[in-house]
Point group: C2
Chain length 358, copies 2
């Protein structure tokens, strides 16, 4: 099945290319099952995986349908694939400037096309094998929200809750996702911190009257699920309850808009228009959602002006939020599997979205 | 002090450039204290940090000496910096092909030099502030090996130990380092698995007679320390004890070779020659070490043929290993702060290297 993936991508290129040269770990994993230091050359019927010696046994164990070729580490890996450049017309996901500068003298632009789109287009629709893994990641997230409901108490810090949650995730073979633009495994943001959508979890202790935003991105065997719940500790103000209800309704409207054939911008406006109508448009300072899979953020993008249409087999998030500077924030997010119509969609993250007052 | 860092890099460029355009999160963190989605423009006396709205409050809180400029997310961020391209001569760490393709039409190669070396050269020597953080990360690692000595028992799985260790790290504000070529937070490899230097931690249970290699890379407030210890569970074979002693002596010889002015290849051969002398040269299938700091692997490289000399303030690993295919492996690694001479070096990871039989 993995082998078919490379063939399907090559077929989609018709006469433009007859091979792939793959550099990004997530694309190599998608095509071979191995996530590590390597370069993959794929033709219609063969995958050659170039790996350094210290990765070779692992590559042999983990990859499927691949011939392992041992090469020097680092630039030596590239040197080993260069003799192949004359043999095929390649499409490549390479986006590394230095690497491209090393390759181009050995070929010409027609035979080495740098374009990640065919890889992205292939990965945007998830097959049953992939969906199963995203479901497992989602089940772990549901369990972690159960843990939140038991562990959130006055005096516990954001970091303490975060450590506990990651521990419970890892006991179930979930890991954090290593998004490169943060040092924070995932977001736990309480009180005024919750007004920052990308807050880095701190040593702040939870206090009565807090909203606590817990945004969990968990990876299971490569595949990611992504959800957010906002919990209340003790009684919260009327404004907070009202904002919570508004975000919850907005998110519900977004979910109900999801189905095959709908433009992504429609899902965004389903969420955003309601929030704007109640005067909080300027407080919803991010897009409504994104695809998830081997990356936390991947195609399609659920945002204003996005004309791309949803299709059966896409897995996307719907995550409106309202952020009141220096006071509080609310975000509610699910990961959802797109199907032919709204009734047959599958919301993969299932923990309650009622305001839980702890 | 952060502000001086940008000025020092610009000064090192003399007439070639008078500004920096910085894209990589670790370099932006080095110059501003903020790790997130952003582009930084640095001149002699100013840093402008371009960030998307959802990152802006966090950037304002976490960055030092920086003027925050709010821009659209993604390609919008780049659009906002392009008008500055005519004003300065830039050095940039940008290595993203698509981004470079977008920039080049607005400038010429003389005014936009793509070269990460000045950033790498600056980061290779750690100041007191950075060393303090690497020491904190090292202290966490020492504590985790204490946990290993208590938790390693028959029937415990590699993944269980890994989860427990990361939990204990996070309680102390340590996180995993998110090396992009693996999905595994850090390596716990037991029995025959330990023969794979980059093994992905599994559900294998520890059994009597195992070697258990625990390679910990832990980040504290941005900065990383890296160590490896190999534990024995119950009695191990004579061959295993002998290989352990050989790796331990090899690592000791490497550490004793470290001092200012020594070529990196000398440290590599100090370790490698002893292992080769006893007939295990082909079983030491990786280089001897690397610099650590904001990245797990950074300059300098402790490997054969590497002529670069060690300098005071560098922080490097020394980590020889021997891997006997399908049987067992041993690796011993410390992170060490280089000083004028061997006697004043500081080995930052301090847990015992005697063979611990648990």
């Amino acid at each position: 099945m993995l082998k078919e993936r490379a063939r399907n991508i090559i077929d989609s290129l018709s006469d433009e290319a007859n091979a792939l040269m793959v550099f990004r770990p997530e694309n190599i994993f998608y095509l071979t099952g191995f996530w590590g230091e390597s370069i993959a050359l794929c033709t219609q019927d063969r995958i050659k995986l170039f790996v350094p010696k210290l990765e070779s046994s692992r590559a042999a164990n983990e990859s499927k349908n691949s011939e392992i070729i041992i090469a020097e580490r680092g630039s030596g890996l590239l040197k080993s694939v260069i003799p192949n450049l004359q043999k095929f017309k390649f499409y490549s996901d390479c986006n590394d400037y230095e690497t491209i500068q090393s390759i181009l003298p050995h070929t010409d632009n027609n035979n080495f096309v740098i374009n990640e789109d065919p890889f992205r287009d292939a990965r945007i629709i998830k097959d049953d094998f992939e969906i199963e893994k995203i479901k497992r990641a989602s089940d772990i997230i549901d369990k972690l929200y159960q843990v939140c409901s038991e562990e959130i108490k006055k005096g516990i810090t954001e970091k303490q809750l975060q450590a506990k949650l990651l521990y419970e995730a890892m006991k179930r073979e979930g890991t954090s996702t290593c998004y490169p633009f943060t040092l924070n495994p995932f977001i736990v943001a309480s009180g005024a911190n919750s007004a920052l959508p990308h807050f880095e979890t701190s040593k702040r202790e939870f206090v009565e009257g807090d909203f606590i935003v817990v945004d969990l991105t968990i990876r299971y065997d490569g595949y990611i699920s992504d959800a957010t719940r906002t919990f209340a500790l003790g009684n919260v103000s009327n404004e907070m309850s009202q904002v919570y209800d508004l975000v919850k309704k907005s998110q519900q409207q977004g979910l109900e808009c999801v189905e095959q054939g709908v433009e992504c911008r429609k899902v965004d406006s389903a969420c955003r228009d309601l929030i704007s109508k109640y005067g909080y448009g300027d407080n919803f300072i991010h897009s409504t959602g994104h695809g998830v899979g081997l990356e936390v953020h991947e195609q399609p993008w659920i945002r204003p002006n996005e004309l791309k249409k949803l299709s059966k087999g896409m897995v996307v998030t719907v995550e409106p939020g309202i952020y009141i500077d220096s006071k509080f924030g609310v975000r509610i997010e699910d990961t959802i599997l797109v199907n032919e119509n709204t009734n047959t969609n599958l919301i993969l993250t299932k923990f309650s979205k009622e305001l839980l007052i702890l």
